[in-house]
Amino acid sequence: MSLLSVESLRTSLTSASGIVRAVDGVSFQVDAGETFALLGESGCGKSMTALSLMRLLPDAGSIVGGRVLLGGRDLMALSESDMRDVRGREMAMIFQEPATSLNPVLTVSQQIVEVLERHTALRGVAARRRALELVEAVGLPDPAQRLDAYPFQLSGGMKQRVMVAIALAGNPGLLIADEPTTALDVTIQAQVLELLGRLQRERGMGMLLITHDLGIVSQLAHRVGVMYAGELVEVAARQAFFTSPCHPYSRKLFAALPRPERRGGDLETIPGSVPPLTTAFTGCRFADRCQSAWARCADEKPAWHSASDGHVVRCHLYDPALAARQGGTAASSERRNCEDDEASPAAGVPLLAVSGLKLHFPMRKGVFRRIAGQVKAVDGVSLTLTSGRTLALVGESGCGKTTVGKAVLQLLRPTGGSVRFDGEELTVLPPDRLRKLRADMQIVFQDPYGSLDPRMRVGDIIEEGMTALGRTAGTMSRDERIDALLARVGLSAVMRGRYPHEFSGGQRQRIAIARALAVEPRLLVCDEPTSALDVSVQAQILNLLKELQTSLGLAYLFITHNIAVVEHLAHEVAVMYLGRIVEQGTVGEILREPKHPYTEALLSAVPRIEGEDGRPVIVLKGDIPSPANPPAGCHFHPRCPRAMQECATLYPSETRIGATRRVCCHLFK
């Protein structure tokens, strides 16, 4: 008998637009010692499934049907007070955002002991000893000291470790991890994933892992369930799933993922977006977006069909009655020619030349606000970028990459160094001259929800730049120009009169791109433009950016932490660590044979889909130091697996390797 068995669970939420059937007939089992991954895009009902299992739904939500058996006991039949015994003792949950999951006014030990006292007989010193064991088990550095720390004294990765310790305190048989690493950096994510995998193996726990990242699934899961629009569409063992995904949606998810071999070509995209869960579905929910859909898909709800042993899929394509007809409909993912354009660095004057860029924020203290120190957010960064090329600036959060982007645009005035755009020195330009140049450099932001003024219509948003810079549209009227821009980014002209909240994340990002294009820039700073988007939507935006670059000759300064996107889009890569560039070169050089130990670790930490390469994961110890107080010598040496004596005292100077490559590391002198 399985540890957890969910039988046609249905959960709905009431909202202004009607009843949202967030979970609609989901069934699956999780065995002890097994990790079952629920995979899907946002809005598919993954989190609602987890909350329904814990019976922790928001006020608007209620479970309308189905059974949840945990160790043979029906959770839906339990009273609320019995349910409290189940939560924490029999199943525990880890949430996405470690920063808000811990109570900021209680110490780590208080929060762990709270659970221990609720679920075990341990009290006082015994409970504290157990808490210490737990934080040791989750690998918190200096456990004895950290036990009395408050959450604000811990970094994001450490907080997530504490969350895991709290979840483990009741010794649960089932652990539900809801996007446990989404809020963390890649190197920290690798630490936490490794921890979760180890704990699960050691304790023989069942684990329900909720994620949107195929890489994480590949690394941790034993079995995979793909969710789409409130229901499961495919359940398979990991191996079977990754070698031959069956449902058209799963196949599309794989195809939309940027991968090195798809470089140069367009990514596969899934047209449209997840249908709102308020709709009453008659046929297959994916039918509208599916290329293999035929009439039957719209009328008849597909039943579960078995594709191979233990691999079931909810799709008419796998109907045994149809098997005769179905010849070679298997994904014909043709591989596009990979034109190697990296080797041709465009000649001529660089469009953007940044040298020795510094941006320090003063830290003030005391009554008279004396400057007590500097946060060196950017500390001597040099870059060059020519027209029609993409330079990816890669690094973890807090390394100063966004600040570089803003300093290039002079949204933040640099403390030192020079930024030359098309031969003109921007740092010393007076504001009025700078305004004229603004049209040439634009920015696309990360958060498609925060980057559009909610009180303005789309047409006004796009027009704003033209009005502010006094751009006339030539022969076209402004309205025509706006319509043309909307068409350019794949939206229709009728959307001009709508407000941003009526659009999905991907559409908003298109609007933000149209706004930037309105003033005909030559340089576009893209600040993580796809990190808030789902994989299928990300592919649409990446394709759009690529297409715009080819047709308009734009130069992109692409700021990101997503290595897969870099592989797909960039020509050159610069890796940043604590305000400095540690390695720079063409995309092939950096990604295929990283030199700097940090680049190496960063690349290896990205969860890979099975079979892509056999590089071992280098798990870095510790966290990223604060830029207010960087380590002496090489900033990376406390975490570096190959640190030498020299590294602790002297920051390595830049070493050139070949024509295009530069590394800052003592190893390559």
Binding site: G43, G45, Q442, G450
Partner: protein, 481 residues
């Protein structure tokens, strides 16, 4: 001769602003949807109906004129231009029987006799101390002791009957209009409204209107021949006084806001967006203002203003104009001293907004600071302005009462809740106690403030992005959790 006092002019400006705002809102879907949510709130709409009744009284009281003097045998000395020095309002005209029907001194509600004994000479030449008959209250009764109760009940019933009639007519008209609008039979429209199936809370409006009419009907029927709320020390009808107080309360509550808004909005947004020394100066300014005890500051300003007014009697043609100037000055003083709270709120919100990416995108276009503040920040803080304006209103009505009570409020000749409560202080010390003018002022002010608070709650709920956000973006929930 019609005459426009300063506060009247500002009231009209306010109405014009409100109409312009309504026009602006009706063209913007996102604002309209928030206001629709206000319209859906039953409590809010019931409160708005009550407020509308108050506003109607206040507006009637804001149409001022000076009556023409009838040339009494060519003796028009003190009014050379042929107009009285007394300024009246449209409300005065309607309430003329109440206004002119003064008694000698106190009389209880619906009484037929004075509340104080008087020595009268009896027909037989002896003197006796009796409660004399009132000149107006119940004057039509021949034998008050026997007829009073029957008369009062009869008039009440008549009033109720009239009220029911008026209520039915009003409801009928409303339902008829709705039926025509929806293009459904009358009966269906009635059913829909009654069962609350309309998006706008029509049933709350109709029920409240009916309740108001049921209260007003008997009062109107009785007021013709009795003092419904009694009379005060100098024999003025208390019902008249309370109705006149409404305008003072509304003027204080709204014009003060009008005086305060420019400071709060401009300084708050400027401090938040520009930062640096501008922020420092504005912060010092409001911290300093805030650290002076409010009442002390207001008292000092009011007293200075009073001296100025008293030394320049020639500025004002009539006593009403002088009292009005004092009322306006009080509004301005209250406004100047009370902008700090909203300013602080707006500064904080602006600090948050200026870091948002759409503001940075505008900066990347080289948009000027004024343009960003006007086009991006102001529309995005308007909900806070609106909420705080509506919530401040009731506080200001109460503040007027408090200030008038301690003698630094409106001109003593201006009728207001505060002056009524101030005089009630002595009445409560009398034996037997005179309770009606305090109770009347209290009940009216309570209803006004309660309605304003309920309405402001509805507005806040509709405009608060945290509450509204629940319904707008259910799709992102999966991503967030």
């Amino acid at each position: 001769m019609s005459i426009i006092l300063w506060t009247d002019a500002l009231v009209f400006v306010l109405i014009a602003c409100a109409l312009a705002a309504a026009r602006y809102v009706s063209r913007r879907e996102y604002l309209l949807s928030s206001w629709r949510r206000v319209g859906e709130s039953r409590a809010g709409m019931a409160a708005l109906t009550v407020l509308s009744a108050f506003i109607l009284v206040g507006l009637l009281d804001s149409l001022h004129y000076r009556p023409r003097l009838e040339a009494v045998a060519g003796k028009s000395t003190n009014a050379a231009n042929g107009y009285s020095t007394e300024v009246r309002s449209a409300l005065d005209m309607l309430l003329m029987p109440l206004k002119s029907g003064t008694e000698k001194t106190y009389s209880a509600p619906l009484a037929t006799h004075l509340y104080a004994r008087e020595t009268v000479e009896l027909p037989d030449g002896t003197q006796a101390r009796v409660f004399p008959r009132l000149k107006h209250g119940g004057a039509h009764l021949k034998a008050p002791a026997e007829d009073w109760l029957r008369d009062v009940v009869a008039k009440t019933l008549l009033g109720l009957a009239l009220a029911v009639l008026a209520g039915l007519t009003f409801t009928g008209i409303a339902v008829q209009a709705a039926a025509r609008h929806w293009n459904v039979p009358w009966r269906t429209a009635r059913g829909r409204i009654w069962r609350g199936e309309t998006r706008f809370a029509w049933n709350a409006v109709l029920v409240t209107t009916a309740a108001l009419l049921l209260i007003a009907g008997p009062v109107v029927a009785l007021a013709g021949s009795y003092h419904v709320f009694g009379t005060d020390k100098v024999g003025q009808d208390v019902l008249y006084l309370t109705l006149k107080s409404i305008r003072t309360g509304l003027v204080i509550g709204t014009i003060t806001t009008l005086a305060m808004l420019p400071f709060a909005v401009a300084l708050g947004i400027a401090a938040g967006y520009l930062g640096g020394w501008v922020d420092d100066v504005i912060q010092y300014l409001y911290t300093t203002l805030n650290s002076i005890p409010g009442v002390l500051l207001i008292a000092a300003a009011v007293l200075m203003m009073q001296v100025v007014i008293d030394t320049h009697p020639d500025w004002f043609a009539t006593a009403a104009q002088r009292a009005d100037a004092r009322l306006l000055a009080l509004c301005l003083i209250l406004g100047v001293t009370s902008w700090t709270g909203l300013c602080r709120l707006l500064r904080a919100e602006t600090l948050k907004l200026r870091e948002l990416e759409y503001v940075q995108a505008a900066q990347a276009f080289g948009a000027s600071a004024a343009r960003i503040m006007g086009r991006h920040i102001l529309p995005n803080v308007m909900h806070i302005v609106l909420i705080s304006v509506v919530m401040d209103f009731s506080g200001l009505v109460l503040a007027e009462a408090v200030l008038s009570y301690i003698g630094i409020g409106v001109d003593p000749s201006t009728i207001s809740f505060g002056t009524m409560i101030n005089t009630a202080r002595l009445e409560l010390a009398r034996e037997p106690v005179v309770w009606w003018s305090l109770v009347a002022a209290f009940v009216f002010m309570f209803i006004l403030v309660l309605a304003a608070n309920l309405f402001s709650d509805a507005v806040r709920d509709a405009f608060d992005p945290r509450l509204a956000g629940r319904q707008v973006v259910p799709a992102t929930q999966g991503q967030a959790t």
